[in-house]
Symmetry: C2
Subunit: 353 residues, 2 copies
């Protein structure tokens, strides 16, 4: 019916469900049509952030993320202030993952009628708090009505010296695979909140049992991006050969680096850092904490690689674990158990609900 106004636009034919391709398959299919034509585009689709030319020495980094109510967060237990905080973290973390310094964010919202002005005040207080803490300016956004649910879009803008930008595709054989902090805590925080929601759904004045697991809640509800690591790397004059942030889960991110760098990886299971509370709650809930650590996601920690000879300098940074090393592509992507067995690494992504 619209051929009148644009002959080159053909009608939709057939119907393939998105689930048939999977998220990564879909992204590959959709983005394959985009090449770069502007000379200011250094790197486009396919990393944590796009890399643009700012000046002779510096690059601008731009990243965008979306968070959807009912998919990425549940407002029955997610306080608006934390949600605003986490939205900023999600944006900044992508800039950090390029070894850049985040300087600005924009926040756009699609708001349903159930959202009050007071909710938004709290949300933006969280945004402002996170921005202030990270030294980032909130420079714009858009608000739209929404038929149902809250949708948040975050764009983060950062800067880095061009020669200090870490892509996903620079990992080399024998490089050390490094991980900041610990993994799986955010996922266990989510599981705890979901359990209390289930248990207390119909109880008036519910009193959820969170004692002893505050760290897990904080990792899920109010994670901080690891901009401190970017500072440490700069001070120590280290540029990772590749870097990515842990948003979809450790296993998925290792596979992303391997795919982009066309290499393999060996990860040693006993070296994966898991927090005490993560192990305790996993035991209590009969969840395998290694699965939480590998596939949990939303940790916003950094996974990166450096040349073998930097082992000493990485160890000196503190709070960084060397969990494995890069191999040739032929050697595959494997998880090595304490008894020496090898398991193929698989990405499950983060199934949130």
């Amino acid at each position: 019916m619209y051929e009148i106004i644009m002959e080159d636009m053909t009608k939709v034919k057939g119907r393939t469900e998105i689930s048939e391709l999977g998220e990564f398959g879909l992204i590959d299919r959709l983005t394959s049509r985009f090449g770069a034509q502007c000379k200011s585009t250094i790197f486009g689709v396919g990393d944590d952030a796009a890399v643009l030319n700012a000046s002779e020495k510096e690059a601008m980094l731009v990243s965008t993320d979306m968070m959807v109510e009912g998919i990425d967060f549940d407002l029955t237990y997610f306080p608006p202030k934390h949600l605003g905080y986490k939205a900023v973290t999600k944006g900044i973390s992508d800039i950090v993952a390029m070894n850049g310094v985040a300087e600005q964010v924009t926040i756009s919202l699609a708001i349903s009628s159930k959202i009050s002005v007071e909710f938004l005040d709290d949300f933006y207080d969280g945004v402002a708090f996170a921005a202030q803490e990270a030294g980032v300016d909130v420079v714009g956004g858009d608000t739209s009505a929404s038929v149902t649910g809250l949708t948040i879009s975050v764009t983060a803008i950062g800067r880095a010296e061009k020669e200090r930008v870490s892509y996903r595709n620079g990992a080399m054989e024998h490089d050390l695979i490094c991980l900041t902090g610990n993994v799986g805590a955010s996922y266990m925080g989510l599981r705890l909140l979901e359990r209390e929601k289930r248990v207390l759904g119909d109880v008036p004045n519910p009193e959820p049992k969170f004692a002893g697991y505050e760290y897990l809640l904080e990792k899920y509800l109010k994670p901080r991006a690891r901009y401190d690591i970017v500072e440490s790397l700069l001070e120590e004059d280290i540029v990772p050969t590749s870097m990515i942030d842990i948003s979809d889960g450790l296993a998925s991110e290792v596979l992303q680096i391997c795919k982009s760098s066309q290499c393999g990886a060996r990860i040693y299971l006993e070296r994966i850092p898991i927090a005490k509370q993560t192990n305790e709650l996993a035991d209590e809930m009969n969840i395998n904490s290694v699965v939480a650590a590998l596939n949990g996601g939303e940790d916003y920690e950094l996974l990166f690689t450096v040349p073998l000879e930097m082992r000493e300098r990485i160890m000196n940074l503190g709070c960084i674990d060397i969990i494995g090393h890069i191999t040739s592509a032929e050697q595959g992507k494997v998880l090595v158990t304490p008894d020496g067995a090898e398991i193929a690494l698989e990405a499950q992504g983060f199934k949130k609900q």
Copy 2:
């Protein structure tokens, strides 16, 4: 219940409906808390795009927009390819409105299960088509699931010499108020599509009557951002004292410039450019075409001001109408009818559905 992890975050109190504040009131309230702390932020919230420091001479421009199904578009008659095209236009238009050249966009989507891969293929074909046409690279995005409906978020990135950036706040008394193209056509295109949807809702194999109104459909479904004007202004070495794009409607944009520039404005009704098809369909549908022109919105034309002495040079550019002039704030914002009567300009915004 979350005081445990962040004492400084207080609970939500009271409930004020967003409708009590209105869109502009809400934005003012929410953004008032954001100042600039980064030295790379030249201008943050409150214009079509944020202005960031790129190099000594150049600024980067960043803008973000959201489009929500059922609010901003209706998929029963909006072809996905046009929707992709229009999303890019919406982003680019904000950069153009700062007198900048758009160079990159990112597109994020929240996708419900009713959306097929073929739909997304078409959508991204439209994105690629618009980007190619405008010389812009698609450098990223995010996809998320959605419980209901499609939400699109666009971020546009552009560049301008710092001294050529046009803000909303630079209009001076006696400046000429200039408008590109014509206004009201997009709104009438929407009204036509809505009429045919109503009439043909239950008809099998509907054959909508669009003949003679193709221009209106194109202005609504597939508008092109006025990047050609930015080029013309550069060639003629003209820097508008203020500029804004027509997204919410001519009246609303005039008021925005007056608010930012702390001035008044006189707009002459008979000088407002309205296309022949706009007038014809308005007559047919018993709509006042002046109301469509003033309050319709989504024209993506440019409204700008230049000093009085540039009249000749503006006239030489072609396709630009001088529709009024800037006055002192005390003289108010008025629409002058052909018989000399003065009507206070009011912004209704664009009520789409």
